[in-house]
């Protein structure tokens, strides 16, 4: 595709945020990734970039923004907790945002780390307008309750771009729940970059939930760096969207650091959901755990690429990764690639990936107890995902996540049975 249109639109707007021009130049130099790029082998980057660039020329009317604000306000009780950050079309909404005690928010300029075309969407995030903020928690501060981050869109042509740095000082702890919504406006696109910095023994729980409409695009990227004994724990639920691409990259730079990554992706219709994760074990005695589960129906396509990279000297690394998938239609597709790259010898690394159907023995068990086949299949499908969701310790959040999963299982009415 032609990126020169972007340059013209950019110049016309005279965009002001620092670093934007540099990001644009880097993008123009690198271009977009093609299918030949290992990181974009199964997902087309061009339609994502095209949407973002088109959005640059279409400014959203103020009335739409007001309406979006009203919709979020209406559901404010869903986002009850320690506090919330609300972004509408990538702009922080002051009226709805409430910061929890102990959390600071500052305007910042997060540098772009670009290694070429593979990072094109992150460069678009940096080049085009969007929020650029840093969220900070001081040393020894534990924030109680959940900080919700709501990404809302106002119009079908809206682009919600957020760049957020999350910085936790030593021994601080925080729970964040990111909600990606488009509140029934049809299309739209989210493109977010979150840079997580966890200092010594800091703990971050990060939950991300989305049940976007079947026309919405979503690109998210998380770059996390963990110091000594820091811990990051993520749960990602993808239950919607037309094309979804999540990149989750974690560097374990201090001894004793640990990351837990869990995810569920449920594809219906023609949805395309792509999860790329990478863990770099840089320091010794670091631990990573990963469990991503997929259910693909209709003509949907799931992509999973999980990489574990053990650097030289990262002895005592313990890495485990699992990616089971249920393929429930002959027209659905799953492309999975669990990768290991290991340059140290005192390591324990294992990964597994499976593609299959519902276990017949389990099905028989339920049938023998008088549960009809359709319900039994629904129950087992639900149970397949639920294991991942049990990692969410906040009850309200977990029930919300379970509901998202249940909603994606056609005619599923048995949730009361097991609640």
């Amino acid at each position: 595709m032609n990126l020169s249109a972007l340059e013209q639109a950019f110049d016309a707007r005279e965009a002001g945020r620092a670093g934007q021009r540099e990001a644009l130049d880097a993008l123009l130099a690198s271009g977009l990734p093609t299918r030949k790029s290992e990181l974009w082998k199964y997902t087309k980057a061009a339609p994502l970039a095209e949407f973002a660039i088109a959005a640059l020329t279409d400014a959203t009317p103020a009335a739409d923004i007001d309406a979006a604000r009203a919709r979020v306000a209406q559901r404010a009780d869903t986002f009850e907790g320690a506090g919330r950050l609300v972004f509408i079309d990538g702009v922080l909404d002051d009226t709805l945002t409430r910061l929890p005690e102990g959390v600071r928010l500052e305007a910042t300029r997060t540098p772009v780390a670009s290694k070429g075309a593979d990072d094109a969407l992150a460069l678009i995030n940096a080049a085009l307008p969007g929020a650029d903020l840093a969220l900070q928690v001081d040393q020894d501060v534990s924030v109680n309750g959940v900080l919700h981050i709501v990404h809302a869109l106002a119009a079908p042509s809206s682009l919600g771009q957020v760049r957020l740095a999350v910085e936790l000082a030593p021994r601080a702890s925080l729970t964040i729940a990111e909600h990606f919504a488009n509140d029934g406006i049809g299309a739209g696109m989210h493109n977010t970059v979150v840079a997580v910095q966890l200092a010594e023994a800091a703990t971050l729980h990060l939950r991300r939930l989305q049940a976007l409409s079947a026309e919405t695009l979503q690109v998210t990227r998380i770059e996390a760096t963990l110091a000594d004994n820091a811990s990051l724990d993520t749960v990602t639920v993808d239950a919607g969207g037309k094309t979804v691409r999540n990149d989750l990259n974690v560097r374990l730079e201090g001894p004793g650091a640990r990351v837990d990554m869990r995810g569920v992706y449920l594809g219906n219709d023609k949805q395309h959901i792509d999860n790329h994760t990478r863990v770099d074990h840089v320091a010794r005695d670091t631990i990573s755990r990963e469990d991503y589960r997929g259910i693909l129906r209709d003509r949907s396509r799931g992509v999973f690429n999980g990489k574990v990279f053990v650097h030289k000297g990262a002895d005592g690394t313990d890495a485990a990764q699992s990616n089971p998938n249920l393929l429930l239609s002959d027209h659905a597709e799953i492309d999975t690639k669990p990768e290991l790259e290991i340059y140290a010898d005192d390591v324990k690394c294992a990964h597994g990936a499976t593609v299959g159907q519902i276990d017949e023995t389990s099905l028989f068990y339920l049938r023998s107890r008088g549960i009809d086949e359709a319900t039994a299949i629904q129950l087992l499908t639900y149970a397949f995902c639920r294991e991942v969701l049990t990692g969410i310790e906040n009850d309200v959040l977990r029930i919300a996540a379970e509901q998202l999963v249940a909603d994606q299982i056609p005619d599923f009415s048995a949730l009361e049975l097991i609640a």
Binding site: E38, K312, N325, L327, L328, S329, D330, H331, A332, E333, I334, D335, T336, K337, P338, E339, L340, E341, I342, Y343, A344, D345, D346, V347, K348, C349, A350, H351, G352, A353, T354, V355, G356, Q357
Partner: protein
């Protein structure tokens, strides 16, 4: 290598000019590759017109292609114009005259492997005394095969004697344009083996390149084609455990297997080419394309490989499971030590209903070596009930080595079942302790554990091959521990 490099340079300096015409009578063609060279190779071999045309088309394709860079290996750029693409066998006068002239290090290795004396001479390239010539053995062999109707001959002979079979199957599994090295091979291949097993015949013996009457020094661009007709069965052994003397650094072989209905091909390889010295100098580049086509229903192709040699290995023996209920298997042990690099694995393409595949890959990395398993399991929408099981384990010995796994799974059928499992670990201290405690030396203990690690693959090898492979493994890992 140094002498041949000097020769190469001499040629480049003196004779290489645009528009030279190759003398087809000469023993070794000057370095360089163009249409003339290909015409000369073909003429030299007395090939029919279709063969020359095929080579030329391959050459055209090759010129348009770029050398692949995706593999996890690192080597200096190859100058394809500095290679001589044909050399006739050396006369006896040029060879070492007795075992006394052979590098003692090589002889020491033969000793450890327990290779019979008369074979050592042959392997070391010594001008073989008539008494030890294997011709007589080979003749009895050939009679027995002819009786069963099995064709087993050099590729050049097959092109002359059975052109209709060659024309029908050549390139039908690995097309000329398949990849860079396969295209190069298609253009310039020197010789190789051809096997045809007629309908319903179970080949009376294991076929081995070891007994092939063939021109020597054809290893560089070898081409193998095995066709198993309906209901037939063949087991083919390639290579041998002893390190072979070889003057070519670049090896780009192509192996094509075709299994028709109910046929079975078992292809076992032991590869132990020169891996280079401790600092990674010298050593063979082994860039091989191996692929089997399970064309008929209920057919089966099984690859078993033990890879311990070569400086760089780039090899993915694959199966196209086209027939209903066809079966593909890949069993591999790869050992890399010192500065060796290996990027190896397999592809299983499930097309036929009920096709099944099994992949068992065991990688051992020691010294400063790097090894990757790269595999693809692809299930197409029509492959109802396809089944795959993959197990790939890596064993790391030493702080400086690397072991990597890149498995791709692309599944497009809801009744398919695909499983992949991989582990990476080192030899556990408690395992070593257990053995040491029972009076087993550290080296023997390591050998025991490593052999146990590879057991699933060795079990698939023909018996005598398996015994040799174990000995080979121990030699390859010598000095890696302790």
């Amino acid at each position: 290598m140094s002498t041949s490099n000097a020769e190469v340079e001499a040629f480049v300096d003196k004779k290489y000019k645009h528009g030279w015409v190759t003398d087809i009578e000469s023993d070794t063609f000057p370095p360089g590759l163009d249409e003339n060279v290909i015409r000369a190779i073909s003429a030299r071999k007395g090939e029919p017109a279709f063969m020359l045309e095929w080579r030329l088309k391959a050459f055209e394709t090759w010129k348009q292609m770029a050398e692949p860079e995706w593999a996890h290996v690192d080597y200096p750029k190859i100058d394809y114009q500095a290679i001589s693409y044909f050399s006739a066998p050396k006369s006896d006068a040029d060879k070492p005259q007795s075992l006394d002239d052979v590098d003692p290090k090589l002889l020491e290795t033969y000793d450890k492997l327990g290779i019979p004396l008369h074979e050592r001479a042959r392997l070391a390239g010594v001008a073989v005394d008539a008494v030890f010539d294997s011709v007589s053995v080979t003749t009895t062999f050939r009679d027995k095969l002819a009786e069963a109707g099995v064709i087993f001959c050099s590729f050049s002979e097959a092109v002359r004697e059975h052109p209709e079979l060659v024309q029908k199957y050549l390139g039908s599994v690995v097309p000329r344009s398949d990849n860079y090295f396969a295209a190069l091979n298609s253009a310039v291949f020197s010789d190789g083996s051809f096997v045809y097993i007629p309908k319903g015949v179970r080949c009376p013996m294991e076929l081995s390149t070891y007994f092939r009457i063939n021109e020597l020094n054809t290893g560089q661009f070898e081409r193998t084609l095995i066709v198993a007709d309906e209901g037939s069965h063949v087991s083919y052994l390639e290579g041998c455990t002893a390190p072979m003397r070889d003057e070519n650094q670049l090896h780009a072989a192509v192996v094509e297997l075709v299994a028709l209905e109910d046929a079975e091909i078992k292809y076992s390889t032991v590869q132990n080419w020169y891996p280079g010295d401790e600092d990674g100098k010298g050593g063979i580049y082994n860039f091989v394309t191996k692929r089997g086509d399970c064309r008929g229903d209920n057919s089966k192709i099984s690859w078993t490989q033990v890879e311990t040699g070569s400086a760089i290995t780039w090899k993915y023996p694959s199966c196209i499971l086209r027939g209903k209920n066809s079966v593909g298997e890949f069993y591999s042990v790869a050992v890399t030590n010192n500065l060796q690099q290996a990027d190896t694995g397999t592809k299983m393409i499930h097309i036929g209903e009920g096709s099944t595949s099994t992949i068992v890959s065991k990688g051992i990395s020691a010294g400063r070596a790097n090894q990757s398993y790269r595999g693809l399991v692809k299930v197409l929408p029509q492959a109802k009930g396809a089944r795959n099981f993959t197990q790939c384990d890596s064993l790391l010995i030493g702080k400086e080595c690397g072991a990597h796994t890149f498995p791709y799974m692309e599944v497009r059928n809801a009744s398919a079942k695909v499983e992949h499992e991989a582990t990476t670990s080192r030899i556990a201290d408690d395992q070593l302790f257990y053995c040491r405690q029972r009076g087993i030396s550290e080296e023997d203990a390591v050998n025991l554990i490593v052999n146990g690690f590879c057991k699933d693959v060795f079990r698939e090898l023909p018996m005598e091959f398996a015994v040799e492979a174990q000995a080979l493994l121990n030699v390859s890992l010598e000095g890696a521990v302790g």
